[in-house]
């Protein structure tokens, strides 16, 4: 195994490790909102390592640039989906709620639907 393949193996091991750590963290967390945080590990760390590994393996190929695009899609959509999911959990828990104008934007409070 030469240095090129060794570097590729390290990157692939990092990808697999990030996936396993993310899955174990997700399983360990009791609260779904806490479990949601572990999505970011494979989405950011794993996909970035995957892009580097594909560029190392294939060079500047169409597959490598497509993998970079997939990585950007994962990074951008994952944050949106995570926010929307956490918001859905909060709404489901509290009922209808909105941000009070008097607060500094950090605190949401439950609010009656008809008021």
């Amino acid at each position: 195994m030469n240095a090129h393949e060794m570097f590729e193996a390290i990157l692939l091991a990092g990808i697999v490790a990030s996936c396993w750590i993310g899955v174990f963290g997700m399983l360990r967390m009791r609260n779904p909102t806490e479990a949601l945080h572990y999505l970011s590990l494979p989405a950011s760390f794993g996909s970035t390592l995957l892009v580097i590994a594909v560029f190392v393996h294939t060079g500047s190929s169409l597959a490598a640039w497509m993998t970079l695009f997939i990585c950007l899609v994962l990074l951008s959509i994952n944050s949106v989906v995570t926010y929307a999911t956490a918001r859905a959990f909060r709404t489901r828990e509290k009922g209808y709620w909105r941000l009070l104008a008097s607060t500094d934007g950090a605190e949401f409070v439950p609010h009656e639907r008809n008021s």
Binding site: C19, L27, T67
Partner: protein, 83 residues
């Protein structure tokens, strides 16, 4: 078996705990399991594409990434009040 296919085995084994999470527990936990599954599936498809040397198949990974995340978004939105 090359390095990429070995990595595919490692990634695909993570789908087992995800399936466990999707099939048990509250609706919220199932949704988190589904989103993790879609993410891991995208990474797995990219690794399979490179492992088998079929580079045009990377379009499938892109389609899966876009459509499964959109599905998760719609599911989360409907979960707020309806599920």
């Amino acid at each position: 078996m090359n390095l990429w296919l070995a990595a595919c085995v490692g990634i695909s084994l993570t789908l087992v705990p995800c399936a466990f999470m999707c099939l048990r527990g509250s609706s919220e936990r199932r949704l988190v399991g589904f989103e993790m599954t879609s993410l891991l599936l995208t990474l797995l498809l990219v690794a399979l594409t490179i492992g088998f040397g079929r580079q045009p198949f990377i379009d499938i990974a892109l389609a899966v990434a876009i459509f499964t995340y959109s599905g998760g978004l719609i599911y989360a939105r409907s979960m707020e009040k309806h599920l």
